[in-house]
């Protein structure tokens, strides 16, 4: 991997960089859509590329179940299999094993889980996870970590953190022995739960291994923890991770989360949210999400966003037409998915340009004002951005600020107050 920081924000910790791997250059910060099983929700690889995506994610757990490594090996890897010629990232499979399997047990050797096909106990070791990811052939592969739910407390969190470090060493050893380090880039995952102390220890250990690690991820978050704790942990990690390595915050997808993380120094994020929510008729916009199933959109004969370059908006498909189709035809899911992927990419692309042009703080202010001003600013965003020198409430008269998650959502037909 060639990683180069191109520009830095003069105020926040945000930066723009280029990351060049076997399948081209991806500019960071970026959002990665998730094509779980080798297809992004009804779209073809060419369609995803046309949306301006240069890095997407496949899930190792799912691809290992189907089609399986034998098919992937025969196909020449997941890129060829799904016709994707840009960069690809795979997770380790551990997270899905814990969240989707009816039975999991962590041992020092690996993750023991019930096979979804046979129910038989099956072991996934760090070495096997890397082996599967070699068959998939993604440009970025992730270490197997010992995942604990982010709300877990007590000694289990520390145990998981230390084990993740030991497993990282096993992943590094396996990866180096494969001779694929020139094509596939192994990322470590910083663990340690919500404890700054444990996070610090984990960071110290993992940074020691930097020569074998082209990048780092911040894991173990986005599990329903307090947003106040979330951003402080992200900040702690991003501050200490090496300047010359990309930083990937796992499981982040809401626009406000993305921009806060970028301001804290994060370069990459992924989430199923934008594509999943599209299937339920929710279109993401700079004014907040639109639930197109609501009656109020039935007679809106204009696009989701007149200025959006996505295939859906640029061809003039109206909100009314999408409302009419949304729970009936997969074409509506595809149309909204295309829009949402473009929206995420545009938010990040806009952030890159703003950072390069020295106007990122204003970009943040403008985004938050448009997105939240009609309801209320989430307090955690205000606090997080103040911690890196940007006051998004500056110049706003009597701003409304709300505690908690503060995520905006168009739930009902009621007009926003």
């Amino acid at each position: 991997m060639q990683f180069e920081v191109i520009a830095k924000c003069h105020t926040t910790r945000a930066r723009v960089s280029s990351m060049t791997m076997a399948h081209g250059t991806t500019y960071l910060p970026t959002f990665m859509p998730v094509a779980t099983q080798g297809a992004l929700k009804g779209l073809t690889a060419q369609q995803v590329e046309a949306l301006g995506v240069t890095l997407m994610l496949n899930n190792t757990y799912h691809l290992n179940l189907r089609p399986g490594t034998k098919v992937l090996d025969a196909a020449g890897g997941a890129h060829k299999f799904q016709g994707w010629r840009k960069n690809l990232l795979t997770d380790s499979g551990g997270f899905q094993m814990v969240s989707l399997s009816s039975f999991t047990k962590i041992t020092e050797e690996g993750v023991l889980f019930a096979s979804p096909f046979t129910g038989e106990p099956t072991m996934l070791t760090p070495e096997e996870s890397i082996g599967i990811q070699h068959s998939i052939g993604a440009d970025i592969i992730m270490q197997l970590d010992d995942v604990v739910h982010s709300l877990t407390t007590g000694p289990r969190v520390e145990e998981a953190m230390w084990r993740s470090i030991r497993w990282l060493d096993r992943c590094i050893a396996k990866h180096k022995s494969s001779g694929r380090t020139d094509r596939q880039n192994l990322f470590a995952i910083v663990q340690g739960g919500l404890s700054p102390d444990l996070r610090q220890k984990c960071l110290d250990e993992m940074i020691k291994r930097k020569p074998d690690l082209p990048g780092y991820a911040i894991g173990g978050l986005s599990g329903g923890e307090e947003k106040d704790v979330f951003w402080q942990i992200v900040k702690l990690c991003a501050e200490q991770l090496p300047e010359d390595r990309p930083r990937y915050c796992m499981g982040i997808g809401f626009a406000e989360d993305l921009l806060v993380c970028v301001a804290l120094g994060v370069d990459m994020a992924d989430c199923v949210f934008p594509t999943r929510t599209a299937r339920f008729g929710v279109a993401l916009t700079n004014d907040g999400p639109l639930n197109l199933r609501l009656e109020r959109h039935r007679t809106s004969f204009f696009p989701i966003d007149e200025d959006c370059p996505c295939p859906t908006c640029s061809s003039g498909v109206s909100r009314a037409a999408l409302h009419d189709l949304v729970t009936r035809e997969t074409v509506a899911a595809q149309a909204i998915t295309q829009h949402n992927v473009v929206f995420q990419a545009a938010v990040m692309g806009g952030a890159r340009d703003a950072i390069m042009e020295g106007r990122f703080p204003q970009y943040l202010k403008d985004f938050f004002r448009r997105y939240f001003a009609d309801v209320a600013y989430p307090k955690w965003c205000v606090d997080a951005l103040r911690s890196v020198g940007v006051d998004i409430l500056e110049g706003i008269e009597n701003p409304k600020v709300v505690e908690g998650k503060g995520a905006k959502w168009e739930y009902s037909d009621k007009a926003p107050k």
Partner: protein, 540 residues
């Protein structure tokens, strides 16, 4: 928007390109829709029009429709589903070509025809009335009166309109009295539509143009002929059985652009008459033979030179039979789309080609399937294209669809850096393989159906191109080529039933459970759950 008022309705014309003495012999023709002097959309016949759901070919996203526009110049939509909300949403669409705009199919590239009912939907519904038809929506049954149909048509402006017909969708068999009543009503409604003068004066505008009429009469040859004869009756009266010619009065038929045969309803009636189950294709040949004699009875009194369209033929053999024995011009794509829903990649050609890419799989009776059931595990390692061509990049797969000949388009650029660094635009894309779609089907990924439906439409278009080519260059060989096709391919379409079963199995195993899990995993973030139908369709 001032152009909207100045526009005159588009003109649909149909020209026969082959002279023929026999009304039922196969023929070549051309449909043209002139929207203005600058815009003409053409469909060569025998040819294809596309069955749609609310105007959309299921699974085919807008950008794909764009790319495939020349393979799908004529879309057929049905209106009944839109009655779910009143006034129906498309009728509120502002601007010119409202239905085209609403659907997102540019009027410069697509002909849109509209019928009230979905011709493929034979679900039972409450009986029609003296002056209304019943339609099915997701929120239940709705009635429509002819005046509303007319006002909806003038609001959405389809290019071609199928007149309301009283085809019963209650349980067959139907009594002689019922058949007579149904024909009588339909002729009356047709007259109202064509005259443009109705008892209710609130509906303005010229008579509806470009009207197609369903040929009625059920499974009774005599009744079918009588119905057709009544189309020759005077426009001013428009009553069935009054077919004594009024010399000075123009017949209804003068204002009719063509005839429609709805095979789905006829098949249902035949199944009862002959103790066949509609699901079973075992007697496919016998059935299509019966249908062709019924269609001949309908066509015999009618002029030869009008367009003959058939809905819901269920195999290429049926299509060939109806071309050969009834001179049918246009077929909808319904069965090929169903095949795509059920995981089948079509692979057949007319005339039957001798060179094969690989030894074709044959059934015990020596016949080949018209496609590949990609659910089948034999495809797990099959890295060839749908048509069985090789595995190298850039190899001509022999099919122009988005699966066999994918292409890259210029990506949307999201920042200054990307603008300065656009990579490998000219590279050729690799075709999608059987193994990949096998995987997508088993993982319930809807991309599978997008790839398959695109492919199946192109294969079917190529089939018609082959039919036209033989009719043009070797018309005397046509019958022999049809026979050769029937000897080569399985006309019983056993693959359809097998694939449908596989589809159901995977659907049940994966469909609902997955979404339930997703909801549990992320409440709030994904909004309230959708209906069960949608769950199954949308997958995870």
């Amino acid at each position: 928007m001032s152009g909207a008022t100045a526009r005159s309705p588009p003109v649909l014309s149909f020209k026969l390109l082959t002279a023929s003495s026999n009304s039922f012999s196969p023929r070549l023709g051309i449909v043209q829709l002139n929207r203005s002097s600058a815009e003409t959309i053409e469909v060569l016949t025998p040819g294809l029009f596309l069955h749609t759901s609310r105007g959309h070919v299921p699974h085919l996203s807008g950008d794909h429709v764009n790319r495939m526009a020349k393979h799908m110049p004529w879309l057929h939509a049905s209106f009944e589903g839109f009655l779910e909300t009143l006034p129906p949403t498309p009728t509120l669409q502002p601007g010119p070509n409202p239905l085209h705009t609403f659907i997102g199919a540019p009027a410069s590239r697509h002909i849109i025809s509209l019928s009230f009912r979905d011709p493929a939907d034979v679900r039972e519904r409450p009986p029609n009335g003296e002056n209304y038809l019943t339609g099915l929506t997701v929120r239940g049954v709705r009635k429509i009166v002819p005046t509303s149909y007319r006002s909806y048509i003038s609001a959405v402006q389809p290019d071609v309109v199928v007149a309301l017909s009283d085809i019963p969708f209650t349980s067959p068999p139907y009594s002689q009295k019922r058949v007579t009543k149904s024909m009588d009503r339909s002729i009356r409604w047709l007259g109202d539509l064509l005259r443009g003068t109705l008892s209710s004066k609130e509906i303005e505008g010229a008579p509806v143009k470009n009207v197609l009429v369903s040929l009625l009469g059920g499974t009774n040859h005599v009744a079918r002929r009588i119905f057709s004869e009544s189309l020759l009756g005077p426009l001013e009266e428009g009553r069935v059985l009054s077919s004594t010619r009024h010399e000075k009065l123009a017949p209804l038929d003068d204002r009719i652009s063509g005839y429609v045969l709805e095979m789905a309803s006829l098949r249902m009636e035949l199944a009862v008459d002959h103790f066949l189950t509609p699901a079973s294709m075992t007697h496919a040949r016998e059935q299509v033979h019966k249908i062709s004699t019924l269609l001949q009875a309908s066509l015999s009194p009618l002029p030869m030179d009008k367009l003959r369209a058939v809905h819901s033929a269920m195999s290429p053999q049926e299509m060939l039979h109806l071309i050969a024995s009834c001179g049918v011009d246009l077929f909808d794509s319904y069965w090929a789309q169903k095949a795509a829903d059920w995981g089948i990649a079509l692979d057949f050609s007319f005339p039957v080609t001798t060179e094969e890419h690989a030894e074709p799989m044959r059934r015990l009776d020596g016949r080949r399937d018209v496609g590949h059931n990609l659910y089948d595990s034999v495809f797990a390692y099959d890295f060839r294209s749908f048509l069985g061509t090789g595995t190298e990049v850039g190899l001509n797969t022999g099919c122009a669809c988005i699966a066999c000949s994918p292409s890259f388009t210029k990506p949307i650029l999201h920042g200054i850096l990307e603008r300065n660094n656009v990579e490998n635009l000219d590279e050729e894309a690799t075709f999608f393989t059987r193994a990949y779609v096998h995987h997508l089907l088993h993982t319930h990924e809807m991309s599978a159906h997008a790839l398959l439906v695109s492919h199946n439409i192109v294969v079917l278009q190529e089939f018609f191109a082959g039919v036209r080519s033989v009719l043009k260059h070797n018309p005397q060989r046509f019958a022999a080529e049809v026979a050769r096709f029937e000897a080569e391919y399985d006309g019983e379409m056993r693959i359809m039933e097998e694939a449908r079963r596989d589809w159901e199995t995977v659907d049940l195993a994966r469909g609902k459970g997955r979404l339930a899990r997703e909801r549990k995993a992320e409440p709030g973030a994904i909004g309230p759950p959708m209906g069960i139908v949608a769950d199954n369709m949308l997958g995870a």
